[in-house]
Symmetry: D4
Subunit: 247 residues, 8 copies
């Protein structure tokens, strides 16, 4: 049934409006509900709208936020105090200073089984780890954190073995040699989202060494997001956790 | 003195508690179950043992396989026909020619809700996509495949909208500009595991362009594995699907 | 007017089927003719379907060709003699050996004002230059060629000044230091599509040096395609020439 | 002895033909029109003179401008407010603050068919997009702009389908994954000039990821200029539009 | 149930050997001495705990230091005066200004045979050389220094031939072309730890040129640490010197 | 109308000075001697015409050679035995097998003061060193060679001190760490042309490590040509030697 | 006292021959014993002469060997069976096939305390590990090997804890993510020489990922040699072991 | 004859002091005049001592200068006004502000044939061009300068044809696409020393694009120094000019 037949049938009363809409959705190569699906996806699943602050004036950011704020949760990454000053009178606007993240929209509270675990290697990685943790929390997940796990040697991971093994998803944040996700993978069968950070110097190349180590891990079960992309890791972990909780 | 002797001596009063503690510290640590934990993790969760074939002789590979084969499922990636000839008399040895993968061990059949979807951009990406699909299938997952989705333009993705939107996890395989995962992410709230392939030329740089595009996707919800690493994507997708089905 | 109103009006006879179709096209966030537009664009404008041969078997290529051949012109780049053997019985199948290009579909003859000029620096660049020239010709453009222009020194360009200055578009193909497009730009006000080639060695880095020189040209008016991408340059030049001839 | 003297002497029989030829060879070559040709090309076609400000003092810039300003239109890219202060008393000197561009010379008004469309992905890309738009406008083209098209998902491009499909040339500006030009190419048969921007972080590598994605686009019809080179894109688009309008 | 309770119950016959083994497997592994082994290694051998300052607040650093200070020697690399102000009241806290290194813990005095030699090419390399020297000294080694050896030409190395030839280990610090370790290796049979520095410009690429030259030295006997990693070189040299003195 | 006709018409009063000027502008510029200047430069100074063989068929090469051979000396670099077979019947055609160089044209014998010295580090660098030496010799220079100078340690350079110090120019060829030119520079006040070779592995990166070391040499007086570009080094050294001998 | 005064004093009997020699050594900027020291260093300490085979003909290699063989031990790395055929009649010539190493000269037997440990991650790394082990053994060291330690998970390292902790030096060989040396460093206070191998694919970049991970290890005590440079690691370990045994 | 025999013979009057000196020079592997040669080379030939200022305190620089100033000419590159303040009371200390160069020592005046020509592409390249020019002048060469030659198009080079063609050496300074040296090479048979500058943006990569273009120039006769290394270019040009004038 092509579009003409479809519309003619509707006109002739052979099908109802509802049936016409159903068929329209099924027609090859197009989709009547295209954007709405996306809208639904975002709203129901909690994929946030994200504004990357660098390169934008606070006025530009405010304008974008005002357009979005009624329908969707908005995250502003790499935001400054100054931007927050501009936005703080907006309802439900929160500034997470440790990770330079502004979130606008109601904090969701969901009844979830299990938790997302955020693990970081050193305290210099904290802003990235926090960005991941806050993102996941703001999207309604239970989040646990183990920071500085690598401060005094890889073996200390063993102390947290149980907490690691029981997580639904693990976000592992590390700079320098990026070894943490591989170590973690020995203690859990949860999927691991690895986040390289730009911590380090010389051949660390602003996180490239960590990224490459993570992509080349000899231990399967690890997927990677961009350098310093705590927000992205938080969203991926959230999507996985949604699927787990939707069963 | 092994662990049994040690504990029996303590029980029989032949050594003190303090002496027992001292001896315990000296035991090879795996005796205490360490390695078994790992063994359990792998066996129960289905993380396969993997042998990367390049650089190894077929004799070396056979020797490694023989040590492992009783306890664990073994995958041999980037394997040749010749290696298969060496191994084919081993029980439960299968060769997946399209992706140069050998699997040894019983094919698992599990009762699963939902499926993993493997999507690829072009038919040149097929070996990598197949490696991902076979890996996931061999680990007991239901797998659906949509290949060549990008052959005649990005818009054709729309035809598969429903199948994409209902997957538990999507593995998106693409070379060249690596655009596929970002397009896919508009049609699903499932987590997406992106696999860059080395297909392309010039500044494609054997998959680096695709990798970088995927890591920098403006759409959140995508995590990435190494270039051409279909096996790794299959394992991550499997771990996620396990978690989903374990609820 | 939203989708429900629209369909109800049609059902109630307040608008005609044609009007309904027109409105459907105008609805926000979707498009009933999505794919068709693309189809038209390709067919009318002559953007060819392209199959990148490496990594595909000749059987795979044949299968793809058979699906496409009735509706669209098909180009197969980086093709081998062997692939041509597989395809040569298909109607209107031509093999351009110098540039490893197979074209399937009728050769278009169009009445065009002006020509596309393909200029190359050295005879090693010939396969790429030919790929550009054949692509443009097959799409119905008049094409002129000046090859080896750089063989004995940049100054020889001056001999061809007139031919260069009168072209509608110039495709400039060069490896090594990639200087040719910049030289050419002194003799024409036509847009220049620069194609770096992988000819050279050492720090030439398979075309990267030429690419970088072209992107950083001190002369404005140059845009660049991928290394060795003669096909891409041919298509861009064709699209420009179409626009020129459509006035 | 300048060219007039030389020819007059020959005419008057004071020197022989052979002597005249010898002298001609010795004349600075531009006396023979070489430079004038270039001058004509630039003046008639509107290729502007460009001064790249970084690394130059405002005094140096002023000196260069003063030499050029009578004969040609001058653009100063990456200029600061401070430089503008130095130059603002020059007749017809304009400062475009959003893109740090100073233009000196009369604004051209031309009667043109069609328009150049400038599309950008995010508001952080605005300075580069504006540089392209202003450049094209200053050279006498009609310019339309669609900014922030990628802010909330690639699908929103569909809203602008008609405007995109009718442009003479499209300039597509994007950072991060550089996906925009490829998406745009599905909606138009116009040539697309892609401009990667340095927006992003980590493996975005100051625009390299976007550049590579654009050069490796699976959709033909896209040519690329240097990272952040809005000016260059504006000039290429202008040259194409000139050719279209010259028919 | 901790390890003592467990063993006591076994001894008292309250649990069987089998039950004891089961429980042992469940204990956090470090209870069994795992971490202590590491502790012993560090304490006895003098491998210091290291805190990399960049990206940490002075408060974070203080907190970490307070946890560690009683048991172990702590080094804080890339520290600022400001951090020292925060920490200076801690007992045995020293600030080495030339190399931005803070050390906390008693300065060890050991009776050693032989010395570690730190050689640097230019005075710009001094902070890195000093970091290596101070690290080795603080760990109880005798250290000699020859700085600026390359200031006026490679041949001046000859003046220090004897001092070079008698060292137990040589740390050779150099930026730019990184030639120094190779020159040094002609005068000694001691192992050489090479430290590339980020001194230089252009293709020196912040130390990459020096690193690559060192890794590719035509003279065997050289091993390399990260760019600017004076601390790492000091530790490796110390470990070698410990082994030498332990015989 | 050629230049002679033009000037004769002016002389004969058939055209005015203004008309003559107009026509002069239209003449192909080389008619006015432009190309001849270049021709003279090449012929008198001995800058050879060079054909880079890779990517060209032997037939293409022969055709180019036939066009050039009467007026100029021709070098064919990276040539094969097979190409030589095609060309060997051409008068004065020589094949230098060790460096895959074909030279066509009479061997020049010039009366020169002083010599060009070619020094190489290892015997693997020999083909590049030979290409430099043969090029310089064929252009009429006296050439001396010291090969394998680095085989057993940098200090052996001293044995050749006198020969090094008296050269007019030194060509220093080296792979791996590229240290040789810097060492050489301690023994001569001649300009040094450094040639990195692609000998080595791993981080040697096909000559990049050597190139970077040479560009960053702490010893001034060294200029560099492309990796493996023995021919280029030979030409630069020849040009310098020409200038020295022209005084 | 300059050289003339010195020699005159000797001639005049004012100083003895011994005094003259002492003074000669003290003269600024030169050294009478320069090469001899080097000679002694090599002979006594066992730093072998090394010939890197690729790029050399078997005849060239033979010629170099014949010059060296009487005085020194010679290693030929990356040698082929064919080269061995050419050399096998030379006295004391051995071919180590697994690592393509030829050694010429008597196998040294030394009385040593302690051993060098060579550890490798996977069996693909075996050729590099063997090159390191054979090199160290041929130079007279006791060598122990633990190969494939990473085949089934990092935790298996624990089984070898004692052997690792007691080594004088550890050579740790690994490709892919290069994690092994960092793991090893938790079990020993011996210096670790890390050797990245080119095993892996994609972003492994022929060993670059492993190299970068090793250089950026969060565990101090590791120094690195070039990718695949087993020979170099063997020499560094030998030099350290010599120093240890010389006390 | 070894050193003992030699000295004994001298003592016994069997050889003269002159003969002894001659023999001393001939002794294997060493050289009595080693440093003096270097000393002579530097003093007579005017290779200056160079201090690279970044990373050094003004006190360190002063100390180094004081040690050197009596015997040699000293250049301090990348120096600041502040450093000059520290040094300006030293006799014969000059600050060249445009290129941040301090020179200490008498300005040499030499009687030279011919001149060194410094050509630069744009006024942003001026500091680097000036560094080259001042260096060459300070070493006693006649220097001519043509700056901004590329400001309005490559063709303007023709105006300076004669001046270019008559230079002894040409230093060509250019950023961006680095095309200038190649253009220049069409007008001269002098050797060309090319200096890439870090002027530009995006893929210009701080001079890498220019460097690569220069190394890959299709025109032979060009050698390259490090990015922004005007000093190095000045020294190489000086050494060439010395050789020319020494005939």
């Amino acid at each position: 049934m092509n579009i003409d037949e479809l519309l003619n049938k509707l006109k002739d009363g052979k099908i109802s409006v509802e049936e016409a809409k159903e068929h329209l959705k099924m027609l090859p190569f197009h989709d009547l509900g295209f954007a709405k699906i996306d809208f639904h996806r975002r709203l129901r699943k909690g994929i946030p709208e994200v504004i990357y602050a660098p390169g934008k004036t606070k006025e530009q950011i405010k304008r974008i936020v005002m357009e979005m704020k009624d329908k969707e949760k908005v995250f502003i990454t790499r935001a400054s105090e100054e931007i927050y000053e501009e936005l703080k009178n907006i309802e439900n606007c929160r500034f997470y200073k440790e990770c330079n993240l502004i979130v606008i929209g109601k904090k969701e509270i969901k009844n979830r089984n299990g938790y997302i675990l955020v693990v970081s290697a050193g305290s210099s990685d904290l802003p990235v780890a926090e960005e991941a943790a806050v993102t996941a929390e703001e999207l309604g997940n239970r989040v646990r954190k183990i920071y500085d796990i690598g401060v005094a040697g890889v073996h200390r991971v063993i102390n947290y073995m149980e907490e690691i093994s029981k997580a639904n998803v693990v976000i592992a944040v590390a700079g320098m040699d990026g070894i943490l996700p591989t170590i973690i993978s020995n203690f859990t069968s949860a999927p691991i989202i690895a986040v390289p950070t730009s911590i380090g110097y010389g051949t660390g190349m602003n996180g490239l060494a960590a990224l490459m180590a993570m992509l080349n891990s000899c231990s399967p079960g690890i997927a990677v997001v961009n350098i310093d992309n705590g927000f992205g890791a938080g969203v991926v972990a959230h999507l996985i956790n949604e699927k787990i909780n939707s069963q």
